[in-house]
Symmetry: D2
Subunit: 293 residues, 4 copies
């Protein structure tokens, strides 16, 4: 795989569980990669930069892969940061899960600076990132999205374009809501079954073997049936954060979301009762506990 002629140099800001394997894959695909990470660290074959300004200087595109709105804002706005350092005609590719409002602000700010912003959040855990198996949901100017084809090809197995940056951010939030919702409803079903004498694995096997066999049901169902919520692939506190973003989007657009509200309470309860170290699927443990299991 070769980088497109127009897009050769890519900055990667954020080398966490997700950003690091993505940077590795970009190097492998032949891009000139320049990395920056708040707490340091390097990727073989990439230039490790001490500052954001250094990383983005001369880059055709800068990818951000950070944990939340505040981190993306801190990296983007201000002296010596991404927005100030990126050249005209280049792209900021925001791959974090962020609020719809921030996606809108970023699109506007980069437009004002003569740059492009493409929100491109991803589905997939760290192992999917390493295996180039991410699903990418890009949203932005159509030409900008097209220009990123080689980058996306180096990172994932497919893209699902949305009308714009705000819509891409929202689509990702819808997906995260549905993951958490699947955890809740599977936990209820498996608890009901178990209290009625059906081993969880048997019930889950029937469910995935008949009508319910999606990747999310298989992966999270297995965790719930086994009661195995460590190590955390996605932290409990991030679950609360994402439900907040979902509900904020709903409040903004006047969309009542009762299951999202139930999930918000689940995550709050989990954090209030000592489960902050578990994977977010650990809210299933609350369902069991309330059933006396």
């Amino acid at each position: 795989m070769t980088a497109s002629p127009r897009l050769r140099t890519v900055a990667v800001l954020g080398l966490g569980q997700m950003g690091r394997p993505m940077a590795v894959n970009l190097v492998g695909a032949g891009f000139a990669v320049r990395t920056w990470n708040r707490s340091g660290g390097a990727v073989e074959g990439a230039a490790a930069c001490a500052t954001i300004a250094e990383a983005v200087a001369g880059a055709d595109a800068a990818l951000t892969m950070l944990s939340e709105d505040a981190a993306v804002e801190a990296v983007t706005f201000g002296d010596g940061r991404l927005l100030a350092g990126l050249g005209r005609g280049t792209l900021h590719v925001g791959m974090s899960t962020i609020s719809v409002a921030l996606a809108g602000r970023l699109a506007e700010a980069h437009r004002d600076a003569g740059q492009g912003f493409v929100a491109a959040p991803v589905f997939g855990r760290p192992e999917a990132a390493a295996a180039r198996q991410l699903w990418i949901v890009p949203g932005g100017d159509a030409a900008d999205v097209a220009a990123l084809a080689s980058v996306f090809a180096a990172l994932g197995q497919g893209t699902f374009p949305m009308p714009g940056a705000r819509e891409a951010a929202l689509a990702k939030l819808c997906g995260n809501f549905l993951i958490a919702a699947n955890v809740e409803i599977l936990a209820e079903a498996l608890a009901l079954g178990e209290k009625g004498g059906i081993p969880p694995a048997a019930l889950l096997g029937m469910l995935t073997g008949t009508l319910f066999g999606s990747p999310v049901v298989k992966r999270y169902g297995a965790m719930i049936a086994a009661g195995q919520f460590t190590p955390p692939g996605f932290a409990m506190a991030l679950g609360l954060k994402d439900m907040r973003l979902v509900l904020e989007a709903g409040e903004q657009s006047r969309t009542p979301l009762p299951v999202a509200e139930l999930l918000r309470s689940r995550f709050l309860t989990a954090l209030a009762t000592g489960r902050e170290g578990l994977d977010w699927a650990g809210i299933a443990g609350l369902v069991r506990e309330q059933a006396g299991l």
Copy 2:
């Protein structure tokens, strides 16, 4: 496909949307089929009987495929009914979705009569029944379940055995709960997306293309995205009935089920606001209505 030597004559009680194609397939598989239906009707190649007693006389197994507990009870108990008419050593195969309590009562009553009861509820709509594509969830005495292998092979594409009749009834209720729950969470996600500018079909395509692509999400998601809830494949009132059975099972075993309770309210609201003629997936319309869509 040939019927097993031990199980040649099968009575089918109930020729509704599901029972009729099942009887047809049993005839096609070489069974001697005797049918009875409350409101009459016949199946080519099967003996149409005027009474339950006539239908079950001499049968090796009697299948019931009826709409609810009350119908199954009316067909089973009393003079001239199934329990009185079936011979010793034969089987009642209850394929309706019934309460856990009734499954337990039937198992006991048939045992006391020297007969066997196998609960064998199915997943699949009428077209799946016609195409021998049902999924069957049998529960009962292991030898009885084994004896029915040829019957199940004539009706469906696979079986997922449960420990007993009560557990099979419960597993089916868990599945129906999860179907309705998927309708709710998809409806919330698609409404949130639509109010934020994402066409429902685009969002659904992304969801099924990434992590959420199960049969239930594809089929019901398409109905929700299109807002198409007629003709009803599964009636709204049956949705309320099933949620009641789920919650009764949960009350019996002390299992709180908040999403099942939300769904119960959805079905009540649907029936109170003129949606009794819609498919049960029509509760998605309530999510939209409350969002002002």
Copy 3:
């Protein structure tokens, strides 16, 4: 206070925490009282009867004060029971909290037997019964209710007549729903306050001193603020039973009741987690537990 000329002899069936003080007060008001209790026991000044038939023979009215539908049915229907033993032109006064459906059945059965049925459930705990401070909610034929004026005067501090027996039963269920609902919302408010640094007693004092000072808020608020849920004045299992009756009434009339559903889950959780010995206000402890208090 003197009994009306037409109504002199009163049978009291059920001498539990409520029935006993009520029988005592009827004796004190000059009625000829005949008692029966499943597990025996006597009231000074009243005739203790060994059978229901003996108790109701010659009575102008028979009061039932029992724990639930099943007990009222067992006492009323069958050979040698209330319905068979009461004379024509006499009254059954059902003072238990029962289902709307049973109230309707009783009204019909007694009408068919040439008797009258008045549902007259009460608000008030045992100490209110002893102090003649009950509130009575009678429903039945207007003349029958009028004929009971002297009985009600001997038992309580006031009556709130409803259109009929079913409506009286329903009004009582509405009241019990509101008691439990007040426990829930007060528990949420006090937990939120306490986690934010407001002592529960201080917040409760403000609430009752301003807009929220009803008897139910004062009594249950004090229990919640003190975390004192023993001894149980009203048992946890009865809370679940009443929420079931409320939700059944709602299902019958197609009325979604989301807070009643939440309460049902609360009572289920309480019973599944070892709180069956607490007063029903003990569901407040779940609110606290989920907040990490």
Copy 4:
């Protein structure tokens, strides 16, 4: 009533439905009152000021009575605003319903400026403000609260002091949550009763006559029973705002609040379905609508 020697001159910022009658009462109690209002207007006997700076210059205390956090922030922070214009040793008395977080920020900012901040939110609608019947919930430095005794006496019928400004803001939010929660549970009970044949006024009369007779139940119950939600005494959008503040406080302190979440959905639905012109008690109409009433 005479103003205390130490506290003679009071600025009133905000002359809306609440601020205006409060200013009138302060004039009547003998205070030197200086008013400012964003959209102009004057109160007889008070000095109408064109700017905030002019209003607070020389004041011993400045009262703010504004609709929401953003308004209070806009009036307080910045050049020529309250914080800059108030003298050292004077007081800002924040009587609006604001977030716990803002109460904390205000306390800090005024402390840093050598001033005092007392949060003193009130219970009572405009007519209560006019009649000096407000209930006041002050929180701040004890000496500051004491110094305001004459001001509070001129405005209301009693005070319920809280430990600090944040706690006072939170106590008020708890109260507003409980008002909305009472609307919800009364609406559910009255709808259930009405569908079962009990006229709402009859059921409400029974409820308030027995255990549930608080000011909030009487006032809001009457509105619900009559279905009368105009003119709005408290706007629907403010209901959503307050539930958001309640839930934010709960998220901050890790307190799950399921009824508050239900209410948030109710207010969202109301605003999404054309009820923005109704009193916030108009969420009762949603309960009725979903029951088919």
